[in-house]
Symmetry: C2
């Protein structure tokens, strides 16, 4: 019996896609990669995933795990060989358990992130992971890439939110590691090895995640600022003044926000006059566990002092939920606006906060010297030292001309990141996009250690080949 027939027996005929039906699984979200596949299979349970993997192990068929297909680095797109089987986890989408006394939720890998947030909220709890793709990305994808987002400075990356995992190994065995424990020191940390390994060591099929109390009140403001340095100084004050109640601190260049409101006229900057022309903006979010009055008083005290000292040029404090949403919506529209403005060269980098000002200054200058007129599109999660340091074409450049410089730009920016003690992938992972770049910045030893682990757990190299590590 052919492997395809056997697959159909495992998951049912309708859940094995071939031909045209595979198309959505063969192209990545940014449209940068297009692969081919033997088939796309959509198992309905962990046991079916395990059976599919055992079949692949037997026939030496490479496997590409797939979730919401919103990854930024082509990690879920198969290569062009057409040999791989895409294993889509979307049907594993049950919330298995919510334990409010233990503050945990156990969800299957195919759960949409927003559905996890909503399930938590329905139990009067917060699941804090939040990012632009939350309406379509899956928690399995978040785990496999260790996704970040806007709440990291308070709650950590996906890694910090995970307590336990269920994983199908490359041999098709099931590791039952769904533990809801804050403390467990019984041997090597397999959980954190699978998290962030982008499906190259096994397939995460379920996870037990931390929940938090819902904030009683939130205050959100957009700040107009004179410089990135002032934003960094403001971050430091917000940390000191709000403590753990500081749940968001985003920055964005003025021209970037202006492009958003130009492209989407239904959105508006909350400033008029000279404040609207500020070179930098920030979004500040306070989540309070006491009361709206307390949140307001605290917010005004820290912000008031910053305005008085000239650190903040102007502040627009959201007066209601609609205004809060409008402010966050401006921020979340940046990637879409970027896309409409044409292709750009994107970098998802992190830098120690103490060096971030210097990094932006020297990198901007080096880029201008080499590519005169090139435009910076800089925004990101300043509270985590994470910038989306993107680059758009110079006015006299075509898109094609810009993209022709792509690898030179990567190298210049990533060299600068590396020189400043930073990371060339802060929250998006490696996938195909940065696999080769990685070899420039990791030592031979670190790459060798990773390969030894890969070899130990997946000796036939069948799990998501060509992602993260060169084969």
């Amino acid at each position: 019996m052919s492997a395809l027939k056997q697959l159909q027996q495992i998951v049912g005929e309708t859940q094995v896609l071939t031909g045209e039906a595979m198309t959505p699984y063969l192209i990545d979200w940014r449209g940068r990669y297009r692969g081919e596949a033997l088939a796309v299979v959509r198992p309905g349970s962990t046991e079916e995933v395990a059976a599919v993997v055992r079949l692949c192990a037997e026939h030496k068929i490479p496997i590409v795990p797939s979730g919401g297909n919103t990854g930024m680095c082509g990690g879920a797109t198969p290569d062009e060989s057409g040999r791989a089987l895409v294993v889509c986890l979307a049907r594993l989408n049950r919330v298995r358990e919510i334990d409010t006394d233990n503050d945990t939720i156990t969800v299957e890998a195919g759960c949409i992130l927003q559905a996890v947030q909503e399930a938590a909220r329905a139990s009067n709890r917060l699941f804090p992971l939040s990012l632009a793709a939350e309406g379509s990305c899956t928690i399995g994808g978040n785990l496999s890439t260790n996704a970040g987002g806007t709440q990291v400075l308070r709650y950590g990356n996906t890694r910090e939110l995970a307590l336990g995992l269920e994983v199908v190994t490359p041999q098709g065995e099931i590791w039952h590691g769904l533990r809801g424990l804050r403390k467990d020191n019984t041997g090597y940390d397999l959980r954190d090895l699978y998290i962030g390994s982008e499906g190259t060591l096994g397939i995460i099929t379920a996870a037990t995640m931390k929940l938090y109390p819902l904030p009683v009140a939130q205050r959100i403001a957009m700040l107009a600022l004179n410089s990135l340095e002032d934003a960094i100084a403001m971050l430091s004050r917000a940390r000191a003044g709000f403590g753990a109640s500081l749940t968001g601190f985003e920055v964005m260049m003025g021209p970037v926000l202006k492009a958003v409101v130009r492209l989407y006229p239904q959105q508006r900057l909350p400033f008029e006059g000279p404040s609207a022309d500020a070179p930098w903006f920030a979004i500040l979010e306070l989540s309070d566990s006491e009361s709206a009055e307390h949140a307001q008083a605290r917010f005004e005290s820290v912000l008031g002092a910053a305005i008085e000292d000239g650190l903040v040029v102007d502040a627009a404090i959201a007066e209601n939920i609609a205004q809060s949403k409008a402010i966050w919506h401006l921020r979340e529209s940046i990637p879409l606006a970027e896309a409409e403005l044409g292709k750009s060269i994107k970098h998802d980098v992190s830098i120690p906060i103490s060096l971030i000002g210097q990094f932006v200054k020297t990198t901007n200058a080096a880029l201008q010297a080499k590519f005169p007129g090139i435009q910076n599109i800089v925004f990101g999660h300043l509270g985590d030292g994470n910038l989306h340091y993107n680059v758009a074409r110079a006015p006299n450049q075509t898109e094609q001309e810009l993209l022709a410089t792509q690898y030179e730009v990567y190298q210049l920016v990533h060299d600068s990141v590396h020189a400043h003690g930073g990371s060339i992938s802060a929250e998006h992972g490696v996938g195909q996009l940065k696999r080769d770049e990685l070899t420039r910045y990791k030592t031979e030893l670190e790459l060798r250690l990773m390969k030894q682990i890969k070899q130990a757990l997946d000796p036939h190299g069948l799990m998501n080949p060509g992602k993260v590590l060169q084969t």
Copy 2:
């Protein structure tokens, strides 16, 4: 030239100990293990550690890394063969860097935990890891066992506090992974693999750790409670009422605290009358980022309601720093009091908080049924679901008789932990003590995955052999 001579050339003659001088390194803190060693070597730098390890790799000499020798599971004590070299990290005790803008501190493995706390405080920052042995344990030991302590419910275990590591591999190479980044998704998580691996995969020589703002004010109270269930309900209220300002929630059985004040008459319970006879006590700690007045108001509001509702029998709020210290001192004296009362059988377990009441009730009953009159000594970090569930002799039992039942008691308690979805080592690690117990509760698959990683990174099995995993 003999290996010993070569060692002397690497670290200097005075830093290679043999004969009597080795004794302190051959016995574990609890006096349960005594081993032998080829020598004890005290390198003075990471490069010297690497050279020592290369020499051992060449001569196939097993290595036992050693820090402050305060471990609870014999993880730093060599076996009886006398073949191993003890590598003591104590001389690697420099604070390499404090970056207050990035809120990080980079320290060498041999730094005493208290010295790290003090260095942070001198820079107006908090390093939150805190545990009873902090005056003598080292940060390297904390990392290798993923130590917990009293502040975990707010700041996490040692793992959550670590951003980057420097590690000497079993081949004597140096992995330079001292990154001060909150976000870094560039490949497999080697950091978390080394953390908690108890020196069996390499030697941690330095780490970059997170710092936090110092709290502006703290409020501490001891609560008298009618039951463990009431303590759990109070924990839930404290979480909701204090949010991230809840930094400590410890519980202890009444008789345990009474033993402390009986043994150490200079210490006193902060209660008189019937409250002093409560079956359970708790310590509640609030760390406020605003003001002493705010802390006080918040503390009183949550506690007042709990007293009014009858959840808390009585509360003794510390009125000054001396009283706060006295309350914490009572808690920290429990292990010493236990030791003075004679040998006990100790369990360091964690249970999902939702099941902790049921766990204690059913385990107590099962123990009494099998070992009538046996006494429970239960205390721990309730906020993390972590109990030190210890057992002392029945009045009609000798110490010898109790210890003769040790493995039966272990099994009964650990079986119950396992049945409640818990962990048999919450914060102390595995070492020698729980290595064989581990094989009862881990699946064959999980043990195999760990062994595959061990084999991949340390193929000759020279790093701390016989710890964590059976050889």
